[in-house]
């Protein structure tokens, strides 16, 4: 049976992000040499300043779109990429910087920068899929390196990657964990959060804080009962959803529902 001959070209692109997700690639210590054998790394600024020209077989895209320049640049990346995989909460939902979407960015710029007129930024931070077609998404803040290797291995073999999109709870139960919410009364977003981390936080007796974003099906209204039973206030619940995936629609709706209730309560008091 023939083995693979031509090594595909892999490129890594960065938009508004912290680099943590692309560093997961360097974090694949045991597999890094195998990966370097399997692909030609054409562009990866965290590892090498050498850049090979496109087109690329696989592009990993990290970060969100926050400037007019990046909104143009992602189109060029798409045009140069056969398969485009977005990696991490910024690229897949806008990231924590999407908190700006619900506030006045000009005011932020005024407060933070001495010369705000030099800042050329969009009013919103948006996921890559809002701008170009995305072939696969890897969630997480940061992504899980095993999932990254699974997707790369699948793409190199010409297979569809198998990335589960169900709740974190399923992974918790597969590991034999004791539910932190039911047995300890710890608020946990596991039931509405996308699997992929291997239930990392609950395994260490902490509640899930949703860094992989919404699962395939979410009932945040239903989960409210359990979060309140675990002692969370409506303010806590709204804040819990306002993190790395704040702009992911199901998490955004969950915040808005809480904020509406908080305002109603304040109105009644006032």
């Amino acid at each position: 049976m023939p083995t693979r001959k031509k090594r595909p070209k892999l490129a890594v692109f960065k938009f508004a992000s912290c680099d943590g997700c692309q560093l997961s690639l360097l974090d694949c210590e045991d597999e890094l040499l195998l990966l370097a054998d399997a692909v030609r790394i054409a562009s990866f600024a965290e590892a090498s300043s050498r850049v090979l020209r496109g087109p690329y077989d696989i592009s990993l895209v990290e970060g969100s779109i926050t400037t007019p320049h990046d909104a143009e640049r992602i189109r060029e990346v798409r045009a140069q990429s056969r398969v485009l995989v977005t990696i991490g909460a910024c690229a897949t939902s806008g990231g924590v910087q999407a908190l700006r979407n619900f506030r006045d960015v000009k005011e932020f710029a005024r407060v933070v920068y001495a010369r705000p007129e030099y800042i050329d930024t969009l009013a919103t931070s948006t996921p890559i899929a809002d701008h170009v077609k995305v072939d696969y998404e890897l969630r997480g803040c940061p992504i899980d390196k095993r999932q990254l290797l699974a997707v790369l291995s699948a793409l190199l073999s010409g297979r569809t990657p198998s990335i589960a999109s169900h709740s974190v709870c399923m992974q918790c139960k597969l590991r034999g964990n004791v539910c932190v919410m039911v047995a300890h009364g710890t608020p946990c977003l596991g039931p509405v959060t996308h699997a992929g981390c291997g239930a990392l936080c609950p395994t260490y007796h902490r509640g899930c804080y949703g860094c992989f974003g919404p699962a395939e099906t979410t009932n945040t209204g239903g989960l409210e009962w359990a979060l309140v039973a675990a002692g969370a206030s409506q303010e806590d619940i709204a804040r819990t959803y306002a993190t790395f995936n704040t702009a992911a629609p199901p998490f955004r709706r969950a915040q808005e529902e809480q904020l509406v209730q908080i305002r109603l309560k304040e109105g009644r008091r006032g």
């Binding site: 190199l156 139960k173 919410m181």
Partner: protein
């Protein structure tokens, strides 16, 4: 004839089993719950602990009685021992002439279950019916089940979400055990009534420091089970239940439960009879090795009903209705038994405390009352 073992001699049972080459699995307190793990000595058992269970809530509390088995069932079940959560089935390796398939060897080990409850013994029998004697036998499950010694424990308490009495599956173990213990806790006299259910059980009992039980002890053990049966936290009216559920597939209660259900899959994971699995194929980076893995799957995921064009059950309502009607009605048609043994795990470990007994009862009522 039943015999009596002093509580102080319970460790002799653990050592007798270990001495026969069994890996002894039983209840152990960990992370705020009673889970199943290796038991090396009787002192490993959750002595003096009781569980307080309700819908979506589980807590352990310490009591002064010093009983070994005063709790009921926890988040784990023996399902994880025989129908394991994740296992690799085979590898495929590429070589010059083509490829070889290397199956993972069927697991062989002697396992002793220490403290299996009546509902759990029923659950194992149901999984055997499907995974050994059903249409699609699972040889790896059968291998794990082939050399098992069962020490049943008759529950001395009913949990807050238990309803085995109404399912006809407990609280007393009637069969399916090698030895069955009923713990008798009286001031200054802590002992076990030991019933012998098999030749293997008799052989193990013969190695223990036991004496014949007297009629008072036999009566005391019977009344433990009677008291437990009378104290069930829940009940489910099973008369005509299958027909009532199958007739009410459009009942408004399904919409109501769908507003509460999270579709997280916890109920199916903790259910001791749910047996669905998913298969995942992976390859290595070099493209030289591939492997197939089996893992538990849940009818609450979108992928479960994914066919060409999308998922058949896209709404939470459709998924909850599928789970409940399959478990309590469809199983009768498919496997000749209910899929529910009344252990209450799905009620306790549902993060939002959805109660299968309440939902089934509501759906079974005429709409105006539902």
């Amino acid at each position: 004839m039943p015999v009596v073992l002093a509580a102080a001699d319970l460790d002799a049972l653990v050592q007798a089993l270990a001495g026969r080459g069994y890996r002894v699995l039983g209840p152990v307190a960990r992370d705020g719950a009673i889970v199943i793990d290796d038991v090396r000595r009787a002192a490993d058992l959750p002595i003096g602990l009781e569980d307080v269970q309700g819908p979506g809530r589980y807590r352990l509390e310490r009591r002064e009685h010093g009983a070994f088995f005063a709790f009921t069932v926890g988040p784990h079940s023996w399902k994880q021992t025989f129908h394991v959560p994740v296992e690799r089935l085979f590898q495929i390796r590429r070589h010059k002439e083509g490829f070889s398939v290397i199956p993972d060897e069927a697991p062989r080990q002697r396992i002793a279950l220490l403290g299996a409850r009546a509902c759990e013994i029923h659950a194992i029998a149901i999984q055997d019916r499907i995974l050994i004697h059903g249409e699609h036998p699972d040889p790896r499950y059968a291998a794990r089940r082939s050399d098992v010694f069962v020490v049943a424990v008759n529950c001395m308490r009913a949990g807050g979400t238990c309803f085995c009495a109404s399912m006809g599956t407990g609280p007393r173990a009637e069969r399916g055990f090698d030895l069955a213990l009923t713990e008798l806790v009286e001031p200054g006299d802590h002992r076990f009534l030991v019933e012998i259910g098999s030749d293997d059980g008799a052989a193990v009992a013969a190695e223990l420091p036991v004496r014949p039980a007297n009629p008072e002890e036999i009566g005391a053990a019977a009344s433990v089970s009677e008291r437990t049966a009378a104290a069930m936290g829940r009940r489910l009216d099973t008369s005509g239940l299958k027909e009532r559920l199958q007739k009410n597939l459009e009942h408004p209660r399904w919409d109501d439960v769908a507003t509460r259900c999270l579709a997280c899959g916890n109920c199916t994971m903790v259910c001791p009879t749910c047996f669905c699995t998913e298969f995942e194929d992976t390859t290595d980076l070099a493209g030289e090795t591939a492997e197939r893995t089996k893992r538990w799957e849940s009818c609450f995921t979108l992928g479960f009903s994914h066919v060409h064009g999308g998922s058949v059950r896209s709404s939470i309502k459709a998924r909850y209705r599928q789970w409940l009607t399959h478990k309590l009605a469809g199983w009768h048609d498919q496997f000749g038994t209910s899929g529910c043994v009344g252990c209450g795990r799905c009620i306790t470990w549902c993060p939002v405390g959805i109660d299968i007994t309440e939902e089934a009862a509501a759906v079974g009522l005429p709409e105006k009352d539902g």
